[in-house]
Amino acid sequence: MGGMSDQGLHVTGAALMATLMFTVMALCAIVFTWMERKVAGFIQSRYGPMYTGRWQGWAQAVADMLKILGKEDIIPAQADKGLFVFAPILVLLGSLLAWAAIPWSPGFIAADLDLGLFYIFAVSSMVVIGILMAGWASNNKWALYGAARGAAQMVSYEIPLALATIPVILNVGSLNTQDIVIAQQGGMFNWFVFHDPFLFIAFWMYFIASIAETNRGPFDMPETESELVAGYHTEYTGMRFAFFFLAEYANLFLVAIIASVVFLGGWWAPIPGLDFAPALTLVIKGVLLVFLNMWVRWTLPRVRVDQLMHLCWKVMIPVTLLCIVGSGLWMILSGELG
């Protein structure tokens, strides 16, 4: 119910939002590459980038990106050119679209969908197709291995990832991301992670599954630098490789933001009354989770591909299912339901 002017406003707003999201995404790739190298350095008792841009090498990621822009673009002669070109775009698109349903602060959301959470999980599944396409199109055995592993892993881990959020949805009664955040108002003990023991477990299940979903250590099967040379993007150079790179870090931040929204109270500050910068609060939570992710990545060895599947199908899915049942029972017993 709106005239042309309303629609025009809507389109302009959407365009603005899309630009903003893309900027955020590019920015978070740049910031997190730098952060990754600094965190790795910190954990490994060295410095990491120090000279690029004078202060602590802050411009390192900028230089990396600029350099990648200037690299030669190679498409192997035996590669499937169409798929080869399209795959990185699809991967990037998958992680970009999901940003639309993230509630940054009250009312500040690109697409306030009723099925917000469902939408996020649906579009971010596109990444799998992109990875599979990349591995197949490269006509490289290592890339094929990486793609096959990656597809198996990501398809499997989407299930516990989504299942872990269901207890929250049960509690809220809505898939709308804003509703989920609003339900957690009033201090950190109203956050869903501390709501009941089952949700606490569900949060950690979500966190583990999100590491696997973003293909990072100890679950970096598609890339496994010591086994498959560089996994599915072995043959990619220059800007196309940068797309994968961007998508990896955008995904990393995305899953952390979703975890913050669903379990850690979204834009609400830990103490009630400190909510003067909702978007900033959300970003800080996301960055902390990303740091945790990096901490895990630089500490643990990598699991084997069959152990990875074992973990998913025989441990995490039963546990998350149990969490759904337990959380439901908790709701009935504590009288929250009706």
């Binding site: 350095g41 410095y47 690029t52 990396d64 990106m65 200037g70 030669e72 072995t234």
Partner: protein, 204 residues
């Protein structure tokens, strides 16, 4: 860089020559000259050169003894990542620099050439250690040793030593940065380096 628009396109710029601590070959000089004609492009070029030189990703390509020193250079004490060159890529497709760290044998020569060909432009090569420079101790009776990697691929920087110390490799990296920049870089010692240097006793 920007003030060089008046200099003739051929030959060395006298002013720049004394800034270099190595002899730039004619080709490099010409490249620098042609860029120096346009102010805006020069500045853009400067920015891109800065990006190239601050983010030199080497390919994970260890050949022999020198590879261990290459690893030591990227490890804790020497930490090549400080200069942005610590992101070792396992695939040559994403690398900028090939550090030929060790003896190149006849059997390896074809592969080395292949890896070099697989790297995207712009790409650089550092010949690390005396074996890669000229056969080293394997010159006289080394029937299977290629006497210098520059017989196979163009080499940008030669880093002597058997094996070179990590400091020397880092110095070689800086010479490569100078070469990309087209002039000698200004080295600013950060405060923490001077502070730290004061704490090091002369000899333990």
């Amino acid at each position: 860089m920007s003030s060089d628009s008046k200099t003739p396109p051929s030959g060395y710029d006298v002013q720049r020559e004394h800034m270099l601590d190595f002899k730039v070959d004619q080709q490099l000089a010409e490249v620098v000259e042609s860029d120096a004609k346009n102010f805006i492009l020069t500045t853009v070029d400067e920015v891109f050169n800065w990006a190239k030189l601050s983010s030199i990703w080497p390919v994970t390509f260890g050949l022999a003894c020198c590879a261990i020193e290459m690893m030591a250079t990227s490890a804790t004490r020497y930490d090549m990542d400080r200069f942005g060159a610590g992101a070792f890529r396992a695939t040559p497709r994403q690398a900028d620099l090939m550090i030929v760290s060790g003896t190149v044998t006849g059997k390896m020569a074809q592969r080395l050439k292949l890896i070099y060909d697989q790297m995207p432009e712009p790409k650089w090569v550092i010949a690390m250690g005396s074996c890669a420079i000229g056969g080293g101790p394997y010159f006289k009776y080394g029937y299977h040793v290629v006497k210098g990697v520059d017989l196979l691929v163009p080499v940008d920087v030669y880093v002597p030593g058997c094996p070179p110390r990590p400091e020397v490799l880092i110095d070689g990296l800086m010479r490569l940065q100078d070469k990309i920049r087209g002039r000698k870089g200004r080295f600013i010692t950060p405060k923490w380096v001077t502070d730290y240097a004061k704490k090091i006793p002369y000899r333990k």
